[in-house]
């Protein structure tokens, strides 16, 4: 009588791979974060809490901490609200202009994260075109865009897409039968909204709030450009380290930034999402969406236009700025900025594409392996891979960046100043994106497909190459695109690890903004977005046609 464990033999190497992956995650994700902790409790005397004491006494911790939370909560509420309203009207009614919102969500994905801030300065800054030609002459008023209000505006406009996408998918998974049931019981649309739709979307509202709260806290580019005297943690920790060379002080701020983000993420992941009633996999029966009429139509489309137009005009500002001779003075068309800025930043452009071209495939391969382990093996420790990769979603880029310079500036892993520190950072930062993308695809594939192939005599390698890989191709392609775009537009983490020899294009854009070369900054943004769009479109060519 044979006694065997319950493990299928061909998956046994998965145990080894699982350990390998965990080791990599430990080195490139958790060790850097641990290094931050370590640097905050290492003093000249060895061990102590001097850095914390100092940070508290000097008020350099408390005030940015409060500001960051305040900003995060404000933006979280506002952006969630805007996204909710837009998602409601576009999901339940036919509305002109709904395509505008989809366009905006696309733009926000492919643009450098601080682009709207550049546009805001070009319009409403001290030398801004609207300030100079309109507000000052007519009202003798120059708006104060640097500080809390400017940040709230820009971050709300940048992050409402998160809430819009989340709530749209929630609304579309609410079976219209429920609403019809409510109407047939005599409830009005208003009553139905408050009694059915709103309660069902409550978990998604909380999720959206928490995710945007994290995004706002982690935001680096916008505050760096716009925060003025309103100091926030991400920028302060950066300035402490690169300006004052106070690594320990910066680390304390980074930890103060990390904790609320982790907390919010844990609440979202393990509390709020458990309360969700709506299964996102449900297939609701399609029902005709009613056309709004009269006043309601005017108000609803007004709302969509009112939200979309400012954002669109901000994007257009950047587009115009890239092609006019002197912003605010001479508005003749020119390609000069494009040509000049490209000449100046050619190296950085090439570096950016090279580095993303290396890091995105690494994210993809590791993500693919991790997804296979998670869904198709019985290896122990696989839950750790999942938890670990999920938690990195919540770690702000600034924190990772600081962690990397602390962890990899010494033997045995001396990477500082090399290409590889940037590659490693981006590869592991975007691994969870690739993992989720492949995993979602793999979840839709019936495992009996693989079992069928094996029962017909195909060995594991053949099943992997001929069955699994072609079937998850869409997930692989979108995972790769996502990781690549995120690498190209990343700023908060990589700003710490760039060096003289390896620079990145987003850092150059920030440099132009700091030296007030806004036309050049716009020009690069436009080129970058065009290149990304071309790239994304061309990956669509490889997308297999719908098979189901």
């Amino acid at each position: 009588m044979a006694k065997t464990d319950s493990q299928i033999k061909w998956l046994r190497p998965s145990q080894l791979i699982t350990f390998g992956l965990l080791l990599l995650l430990a080195i490139f994700v958790w060790w850097p974060i641990g290094s931050i902790l370590k640097s905050t409790i290492t003093t000249e005397a060895g061990f102590g809490f001097d850095h914390y004491r100092f940070a508290l006494q000097s008020n350099s911790l408390w005030s940015p901490f409060k500001n960051s939370l305040y900003l995060g909560v404000t933006v979280g509420v506002l952006a969630t609200l805007v996204g909710f309203i837009l998602a409601y009207f576009t999901s339940f009614y036919r509305l002109p202009g709904a395509f505008l919102i989809r366009g905006l969500t696309y733009l926000s994905m492919v643009s450098p994260p601080f682009m709207l801030a550049i546009a805001l300065i070009m319009l409403f800054g001290k030398q801004g075109i609207l300030t100079q030609s309109f507000l000052l002459p007519l009202f003798n008023w120059a708006p104060e865009i640097y500080g809390f209000y400017g940040l709230v505006l820009i971050e709300t406009l940048a992050y409402f897409c998160t809430s819009y996408l989340l709530l749209s998918s929630t609304f579309s998974s609410i079976d219209p039968i429920l609403l019809e049931a409510s109407y047939s019981q005599g409830a009005s649309r208003m009553k139905t909204f408050w009694k059915v739709i709103f309660p069902l979307s409550l978990p998604s509202l909380f999720t959206s709030f928490l995710l945007i709260f994290i995004e706002s806290l982690a935001d680096f580019g916008n505050p760096l450009i716009l925060s003025g005297n309103f100091k926030v943690l991400s920028v302060e920790s950066y300035l402490k380290i690169t300006g004052e060379y106070d690594t320990a002080g910066g680390s304390v701020l980074a930890l103060a930034l990390l904790l609320p983000c982790l907390l919010a993420y844990v609440i979202q992941k393990w509390v709020v999402s458990k309360k969700s009633f709506v299964t996102l996999t449900g297939k609701p029966s399609p029902s005709p969406r009613p056309q709004l009429k009269g006043l309601a139509l005017v108000m609803a489309s007004g709302l969509v236009v009112f939200t979309c137009l400012p954002i669109l005009s901000l994007y257009s500002t950047v587009l115009f700025g890239a092609f006019v001779k002197t912003w605010g003075a001479g508005h003749e068309f020119t390609l000069l900025h494009i040509v000049n800025s490209l000449r100046e930043t050619r190296e950085a452009f090439l570096d950016s594409f090279l580095i993303s071209g290396i890091s995105a495939p690494i994210s993809l391969v590791l993500g693919f392996i991790a997804a296979l382990i998670l869904l198709r093996s019985k290896a122990s420790g696989k839950q750790l891979i999942e938890a670990s990769s999920l938690l990195t979603f919540a770690v702000p880029g600034t924190v990772i960046g600081i962690g990397y310079i602390l962890a990899f500036n010494d033997h045995p892993l001396l990477l500082t100043g090399t290409l590889w520190i940037i590659v490693a950072l981006l590869a592991f930062r975007n691994l969870p994106l690739a993992l989720q993308s492949v995993k979602n695809n793999l979840l839709q594939i019936d495992p009996s497909m693989e079992e069928g192939a094996r029962s017909l005599g195909a060995g594991p390698t053949r099943v992997f190459a001929q069955i699994v890989t072609p079937l998850v191709a869409p997930g692989l392609i979108s995972g790769f695109s996502y990781a690549f775009v995120k690498s190209i537009t990343a700023i908060s983490a990589i700003i710490f690890v760039v060096s003289g020899s390896w620079n990145l294009i987003t850092v150059n854009i920030l440099g132009f903004v700091e030296t007030s070369h806004l036309s050049k900054a716009s020009a690069i943004c436009v080129v970058l977005m065009t290149l990304i769009t071309v790239l994304l479109t061309s990956t669509q060519i490889f997308m297999p046609k719908e098979r189901r």
């Binding site: 009588m1 464990d5 029962s455 195909a458």
Partner: protein, 357 residues
């Protein structure tokens, strides 16, 4: 021949351990059609997957032609499997799906073409060979899955509820097709189903399972007419289970049963509705007619006698004059009844076997 020797399979969840199969001993004779029959969750699929090599037993052994196959991985066993969900490769044409197993075996492409065309012809798939699976109907998809397995001329073919996703007419059609293919090709079929009609109409040998145990094995006739337990009797169709107390009230003599070999006190008697006959004889039992339901070729009567409800299916003509409330004479033949052991009450199946359907 495939032999299952003392196989147990435990599934460990976070805290508890769940025994999906306990001490299974079975023999599947070569070239015959075997079904694993039982309610959902009883472990049929698990047993089939153990044979296929997708699971490993916690204890026990599985032999093929006398040799243990536990150390062989599923692709080395050569037991193709046909799934409920068809499991066709959506990115390959029907041709490539059917050819897959031959390609794996590096068959020359001329031979592949010849074999695929031959089997496609047999299963009426010729005109669909260059379509993608998604362009076929469910019945055609399952034919492709069959062709894909049959082309390998396997010694053993495994089926996991292959017809459950099809509508009932197609189900009947395909089960005849599968059965005749099995007879022609002579492979050993191990076929999982929860549908007793399917099991009885297709098989040479039925294994009835419940709660991870084998309840009874035998030919369809043995299983249907000579169930050993109440569970098997009820699972294979409507049946009247008559307790010893009630039997003594009607002075039914257990001595008339010629197959008693143990203490009859704990046993009940199973009588199928079609084994109760109307009778005008003096000695006939007299029951009150509670309900009458016309079923087409037969009429179902619900009778009551000494607080026991009985269901009888009688030829429709015999029932024409009967009206509810009447006293009716009926008989059943001891030789046609079966002695059954009571089994644990099984909630799932009680409901459909209430005598007053």
């Amino acid at each position: 021949m495939i032999e299952i020797q003392n196989v147990t399979r435990d599934f460990k969840t976070d805290s508890a351990s769940f025994r999906a199969l306990s001490s299974i001993n079975l023999k599947f004779q070569k070239g015959r059609f075997h079904t694993l029959l039982g309610p959902s969750g009883c472990g049929k699929t698990t047993l089939l997957r153990l044979i296929a090599g997708f699971e490993t037993p916690t204890t026990g052994d599985i032999l093929h032609n006398g040799r243990s196959i536990l150390s062989l991985e599923s692709h080395q066993r050569g037991f193709p499997m046909v799934f409920q969900s068809y499991a066709l490769f959506p990115h390959m044409t029907v041709f490539e799906n059917i050819a897959y197993g031959l390609r794996v075996r590096s068959t020359p492409s001329n031979d592949v073409r010849r074999h695929v065309e031959e089997i496609a012809e047999k299963l009426q798939l010729t005109e669909h060979l260059f379509k993608l699976p998604m362009q076929l109907s469910g019945g055609q998809q399952q034919r492709v899955a069959l062709a894909r397995s049959l082309i390998l001329k396997p010694e053993v073919l495994l089926f996991d509820e292959p017809l459950s996703n099809l509508d009932s007419r197609l189900r009947v059609l395909l089960r005849e097709e599968i059965r005749s293919l099995q007879i022609q090709n002579g492979f050993t079929a191990i076929y999982v189903t929860h549908d007793q009609e399917e099991a009885m109409s297709m098989s040479d040998h039925v294994v009835v399972m419940n709660h991870g145990c084998v309840m009874q094995t035998g030919s369809p006739e043995q299983i249907y007419f000579r169930p050993e337990t109440e569970f098997v009797a009820r699972f294979l169709g409507d049946v009247n289970i008559l307790s010893p107390t009630w039997l003594s009230q009607i002075s039914f003599s257990l001595k008339d049963l010629d197959f008693i070999n143990s203490d009859p006190k704990n046993y009940s008697i199973a009588v199928r509705p079609e084994q109760i006959y109307l009778s005008t004889s003096e000695n006939a039992l007299k029951g009150r007619l509670l309900k009458k339901m016309f079923l087409g070729h037969r009429t179902r009567l619900t009778l009551s006698l000494h607080q026991q409800k009985l269901v009888a299916d009688v030829p429709a003509q015999e029932a024409t004059g009967l009206q509810t409330g009447m006293e009716i004479g009926f008989v059943f033949a001891p030789k046609e009844t079966a002695l059954v052991r009571p089994s644990q009450p099984d909630k799932t199946y009680d409901s459909i076997l209430e005598p007053d359907l």
